[in-house]
Amino acid sequence: MILTLLVALLFVGGLLAWFSERINPALPRWIALAVLAIELLLMLSLLGADSVNGPENGWLAAYNHAWLPRFGISLQFAADGFSLLLLLLTAFLGIVAVGSAWSEITKRAGFFYFNLLWTLAGVVGIFTALDLFLFFFFWEVMLIPMYFIIAIWGHENKFYAAKKFFIFTQVSGLIMLVSIVVLAWFHYLQFGFFSFAYQDLLNVRMNRNMEMWVMLGFFIGFATKLPSVPFHNWLPDAHSQAPSAGSIILAGVLLKTGAYGLVRFAVPLFPNAAAEFAPFAMTLAAISILYCAKVAFAQSDIKRLIAYTSVSHMGFVTLGVYAWNELALQGAVMTMLAHGLSSAALFMLAGALQHRIHTRNMHEMGGFWGRVPRMSAVALFFSIAALGMPGLGNFIGEFLVLLGAFQANHVLTIISAFGLIFASVYSLWVIQKIFHGKYSDSAFDSSRLLDLDNREMAFYAAMMAGLVWMGVYPQSFLDLSAPTLQALLESQAGAAAVGALQP
């Protein structure tokens, strides 16, 4: 029940926020904040829950209600430790996004918070839906409000970016829809009835070629969202044009839906095809890591730069997922969480700079440390986190991914490890261009360059604390996702993949 409440609350809250604007323009943000705070509390209440339907499957909450029984489509929601981690991330970053939009978004604020909450509703639905039709429904729900966020509240080139975002995700989503339908059709052929339920579809067997094609449909859908090279080109435009809150949600949460899909669906549903495809996926991952790190270094627009680094970091997730062992999968999950926080914080910082001095061009900045020491220290912290400093969450994720992936594929892991060097090159370059060097304010109004205030600082401090926690005692997070990942690995499907993956 609690899961449907989570989704419903966001839908209703979004409508409330929209209409409340007529009463008072300051009301929507308070409503959004309250809704997300309640969401967070509800999710936290799941932490202590016993697993339902027997201890072995690890579902902490589940809900099932027939929707279109003729096609075996139902409103099936369930959450295990893995989904719960991502749900917590979603609610947390939702609050951060509201915080960042607090004074930035003044135009049509009601509709903005409506879109924000509906996007998050889609995300929460994705992380909990266990019926693939329902899953696809939420996949679309997430997309359209985000399109509006970019197109209405974005920057100078917003329509182009919004359209590009929409076309990429829509086309890849359609390919995935075809795959879902084909999968359900094969279930019908094999068992004599339609079902879109995850547990049912896990049992579908297909011939080798068919399995590969259907799997590729899923892979393209998720790899576009993730994103992975060569489907990543929507991201830099979407990020650089979106308002900060949009970037935070995009980088922190939306990208994770792709990673979630890979772990939950793309590999377990097609164990043999996934095993066969693994070397290709890991190659794409290595290319993403190195290529996008290199492209990131060449950017002068801070948000574009961070966007490319996101692609690079998400490459570690792909690498970990297709290595398909517990170390690598845990690493992928940790990377998702840690990157969620660090990239959200970096985008928030970039947004804060743009809000103050109206530029994202690093070449117009420099020597800010003396002016805004707080902001500089915070930016340094998150850059250091992003380059994988031990003691912070991102390191745990990337190290576990590489440690696990090394057992699956030596060569690609070694190549990917060079990403650690590249990450230090671009991260330190950003610090140099913006915060170090000589101060110059020829390109902007110096009086507007103010340091972070206490409200902003509270959000950054929370994210910093999260990254330190992940880095120093990751066990809190690993323990939550471990049952899910072990079950995935141990299931017959997983076992087949592992066997085939051995070099």
Partner: protein, 616 residues
């Protein structure tokens, strides 16, 4: 008492947190007390730990704090491990570190970012202590990266000057190349041996791997990659001279006494692995030897007082690598310790000179400063003698141990020994070139210099002078750590060989005197030969290594980044968009609204279809 070693890193961590959370709002007084005091407390604990460790019979001791993570059999803990090796390291780090912190309260007194400086310094000591106390390679790696980060932050401490930022980034990125090799080494070790706990791993390696087989060789090579990065050895030595851009106490603490010797510590810590790979161990010796000679040549051609000392550091760490490579494990660690004393003294002395001369670093704009800067003069005299291994100074004992062990290596021993002795000859030349040029001759600038005053500057210098002179008598409790290795207790060496070892550094000093102290021989005359000018240029540039790396790595990367800033993959999607737009326009053209045009196209289509049908 031994269970209290967790306090060692805790004090600097607290100092860091207090200074960071205060956001620079603390006055200099309290900030200095917190910054230096935290290290002082750590040193007090270290001293107590040392006493009870020596009394308890040198047994190694593990203090588990918490399990860092536990995933699928991978369960590194945040556990501290104390043995003789760790003990020497923590005493050097907190002892020399404390002196440098006290000195810094004087040296940095006028800096507006005083508290940020101590904030970074405390974080550094925290990370360095974890590096040497960690019982597993992952915790060691945490400290390893942590000291690298602090090194970056402190080299670029004066961030106004873009050159400092460049030097800081260069240091971080170049060492990260080595770190990545080391990380891959960790992956391989875990995949093969199933643990990263250092002692367990070494036992497993001894049990499972044969001497001379390929796996220990590969892992040892990868760890060596990390070590040469951090310790500025060939081929990753290029970052250290530029690292001198940082404040001078940093050069003393990080780039002479502690962090740069981390590679030596790593190899000593995992020495069992290197013993399983004799070829790699020999490679360590040759890396050390070549580095120490190259850096020695370069040090003779530098004019910047700090760069001379930087190349000297590279050269001295070369000796430590040479010691490791020839199996003189405790000799190498002994040299690490004495080097920490005399090189810290030289750097802090250089700092006092630089500060007294209003940030002048070119030795040829000093001259005849022994009267004006008596303390600095004494620093360089004593530090210089120890550095050149003048008999019975601290450097003499440690260098002696390494060279004698080198001689005993079968086959190549004589060459390793000879190279090391020649290096010692150069050490004498470059050290006393600096000494004579700065303190003798005629004054070439800053004629009215007065020495900086202050007990917090003078006292650490005097303590370090005493350590540099008498540090060679300090016994290091390392026998239990390296006992099962091929440690040589009784050294046999002919009196002639020993005489050569003592005489060559003195000859180096004499040559320096002839050129720079007395002017009997003329540098100008020497430099008038084209061949010496060319050599000077070549050595001065650090054997052209920077230019080589720029050519091989940096410029191609920058070029690729520049030409592909727009991301070529995007061009594909732009092309798709352009094609569909073109297609759209094409089809729009056909919607003319004329019936005859539609009739014609239908007929043409029909004909085409029939033609296809007939032809197929």
């Amino acid at each position: 008492m031994l269970d209290l070693i967790w306090l060692l890193p805790t004090f600097p961590l607290l100092g860091f947190l207090i200074l960071a959370l205060a956001e620079g709002k603390l006055a200099k007084g309290p900030a200095g007390w917190i910054g230096a005091g935290s290290i002082g407390l750590s040193f007090a604990v270290a001293a107590l730990v040392a006493v009870s460790f020596l009394q308890s019979g040198l047994e190694s001791h593990t203090v588990p704090i918490w399990t860092w993570m536990s995933v699928a059999g991978f369960d590194p803990g945040v556990n501290l491990y104390l043995d003789g090796l760790a003990l020497v390291m923590i005493l050097v780090i907190t002892g020399v570190g404390f002196l440098i912190h006290v000195y810094s309260t004087g040296y940095m007194a006028d800096d507006p970012d005083f508290s940020r400086f101590f904030c970074y310094m405390n974080l550094f000591v925290f990370a360095m202590l974890l590096l040497v106390l960690g019982d597993n390679l992952l915790l060691l790696y945490l400290g390893w990266e942590g000291v690298g980060l602090c090194s970056y932050l402190l080299i670029g401490f004066w961030y106004d000057d873009p050159y400092n930022g460049y030097a800081a980034r260069k240091a971080f990125v170049v060492t990260r190349v080595g770190d990545t090799a080391m990380a891959i080494g960790l992956f391989l070790l875990f995949a093969q041996l199933g643990t990263l706990n250092i002692q367990d791993m070494l036992h497993a390696a001894e049990a499972e791997w044969a001497v001379g087989s390929s796996l220990p060789a590969i892992t040892a090579l990868l760890l060596l990659g990390g070590a040469v990065g951090k310790s500025a050895q060939l081929p990753l030595q290029t970052w250290l001279p530029d690292a001198m851009a940082g404040p001078t106490p940093i050069s003393a603490l990080i780039h002479a006494a502690t962090m740069v010797t981390a590679g030596v510590y790593l190899i000593a810590r995992t020495h069992t692995l290197f013993e399983l790979a004799p070829n790699v161990q020999l490679l360590v010796a040759w890396v050390g030897l070549i580095t120490l000679l190259m850096a020695g040549f370069t040090a003779m051609t530098q004019n910047d007082i700090k760069r001379i000392l930087a190349f000297s550091t590279v050269s001295q760490i070369g000796y430590m690598f040479l010691g490791l490579g020839v199996g003189a494990w405790s000799g190498a660690i002994f040299h690490l310790m004495t080097h920490a004393f005399f090189k810290a003294l030289l750097f802090l002395g250089a700092g006092a000179v630089i500060l007294s001369l209003h940030h002048e670093q070119d030795i040829f704009r000093m001259g005849a400063k022994r009267k004006q800067l008596p303390v600095g003069f004494l620093c360089f005299l004593i530090g210089g003698l120890a550095l050149t291994a003048f008999p019975y100074t601290s450097g003499y004992f440690s260098k002696d141990e390494i060279l004698i062990a080198a001689l005993e290596v079968e086959g190549q021993g004589i060459w390793l020994w000879l190279g090391g002795v020649i290096g010692a000859f150069f050490t004498g030349i470059y050290t006393f070139r600096l000494f004579f040029v700065v303190f003798f001759g005629e004054s070439r600038g800053h004629h009215d210099a007065t020495e900086v005053k202050g007990l917090n500057i003078a006292l650490p210098l005097f303590i370090l002078m005493a350590l540099s002179l008498f540090g060679g008598w300090i016994p290091v409790p390392l026998d239990a750590v390296f006992s099962h290795g091929a440690e040589h207790e009784e050294h046999h060496i002919s009196a002639f060989m020993h005489g050569v070892m003592i005489a060559l550094p003195l000859a180096g000093i004499a040559i320096s005197y002839l050129f720079y102290g007395s002017g009997i021989l003329s540098v100008e005359k020497l430099m008038s030969l084209p061949v010496s000018r060319a050599l000077h240029r070549f050595w001065n540039s650090g054997w052209g290594m920077d230019r080589l790396y720029d050519f091989l790595f940096v410029n191609p990367f920058l070029y690729l980044a520049r030409v592909n800033a727009k991301d070529i993959v995007d061009a594909f999607y732009d092309m798709l968009a352009a094609l569909s737009r073109a297609g759209h326009l094409l089809i729009v053209r056909t919607q003319t609204g004329y019936l005859r045009w539609y009739a014609l196209s239908m007929a043409a289509g029909l004909v085409a279809l029939i033609a296809i049908g007939v032809l197929l």
